[in-house]
C-alpha cells in the first residue's frame, strides 16, 4: 500500500500531512508507505491512494492514477483515521 500526501509545493503542508498519516496508521495498527509530493508530480505518480485538500482533489480528478481522499485539515488525526479506514476497507 502506497499513500501519497499532496500539497502545492510538496515541502510544507504535505510533509505535515505525511506525519499525520504516519501517526494515524501507527495508532490504527496499519501499515503503508507514505510519500509527500507536489500537485504537479501527483498527476503522474503511481500510488494506491492520494490524500489531499478538497480543491486539489477536484484538480486531480481525471488525471491522477490513484483513488482520491479529501482531507480538510492536514493536522486532524481523526479525520485522517476515518479516510484510512475507508481506504483499507476497500482494499
Amino acid at each position: 500500500m502506497k499513500i501519497l500526501a499532496v500539497c502545492g509545493f510538496g515541502v510544507g503542508s504535505s510533509l505535515i500531512l505525511k506525519m499525520t498519516i504516519t501517526k494515524a496508521l501507527k495508532e490504527l495498527g496499519l501499515d503503508a508507505e507514505v510519500v509527500n509530493t507536489d500537485i504537479t508530480d501527483a498527476k503522474s505518480y503511481r500510488a494506491d491512494a492520494i490524500f489531499t485538500s478538497p480543491q486539489f482533489v477536484s484538480d486531480l480528478q481525471g488525471s491522477a492514477k490513484a483513488t482520491l481522499y479529501p482531507i480538510h485539515k492536514y493536522s486532524d488525526k481523526e479525520e485522517v483515521k476515518q479516510q484510512l479506514k475507508t481506504l483499507f476497507n476497500q482494499n
Binding site: F9, G12, L15, I16, T20, I39, F56
Partner: protein, 135 residues
C-alpha cells in the same frame, strides 16, 4: 496583535521578523500570498492555525519560522485563524526536523487553544519551548 485587516496583512506581518532579520526577501511574501490564491486554504492545517509558506527559492536566504498571534480571528478564505507560523525553507531538507516537531504539536488541538490563551509573548515562547519537541 489585537486585530489585522485581512489575511494578506496577517501573513505580511507574520513574515516581518524573517524579512527584517534577512532570512527572506520581500518576494517570498508575495509568493506565499500567490500560493494561497492559487492553491486554496489548506495551509489552515487545523482549527485556528495556518502555516503560510511557498516553494524553497532564492528569496529564502536561511531556513526559519516566525509566529503571529492575532486576538481577533482572521478570515482565511472562510476559515478563522488566530495563529500564523510562517515557514521559510531554503531547500527540501533543512526544515524537515522542525516540521516533525510541529506536526506532533498540531495533532493536539489543546496546544493551539493554549497559544491563543497565552497573554504575553513570553507566555507563547515558554509554551512552545515546553511542548514543541525538536527531534
Amino acid at each position: 496583535m489585537e486585530a489585522v485587516d485581512d489575511y494578506q496583512a496577517a501573513i505580511t506581518l507574520a513574515a516581518k521578523p524573517l524579512l527584517e532579520e534577512g532570512f527572506i526577501e520581500a518576494a517570498y511574501i508575495e509568493a506565499m500570498l500567490d500560493a494561497l490564491e492559487a492553491y486554496g486554504s489548506y495551509i489552515v492545517l487545523t482549527d485556528y492555525f495556518a502555516l503560510p509558506h511557498a516553494r524553497p527559492s532564492k528569496a529564502v536566504k536561511q531556513t526559519g519560522l516566525s509566529l503571529l498571534l492575532v486576538r481577533e480571528a482572521v478570515d482565511v478564505k472562510t476559515k478563522p485563524v488566530h495563529v500564523f507560523i510562517v515557514l521559510a525553507a531554503k531547500d527540501d531538507q533543512a526544515h524537515i526536523q522542525v516540521l516533525g516537531g510541529l506536526a506532533e504539536f498540531l495533532m493536539e488541538p489543546q496546544n493551539i487553544q493554549d497559544i491563543i490563551a497565552a497573554s504575553t509573548r513570553d507566555g507563547v515562547y515558554t509554551l512552545l519551548k515546553e511542548r514543541w519537541t525538536l527531534t
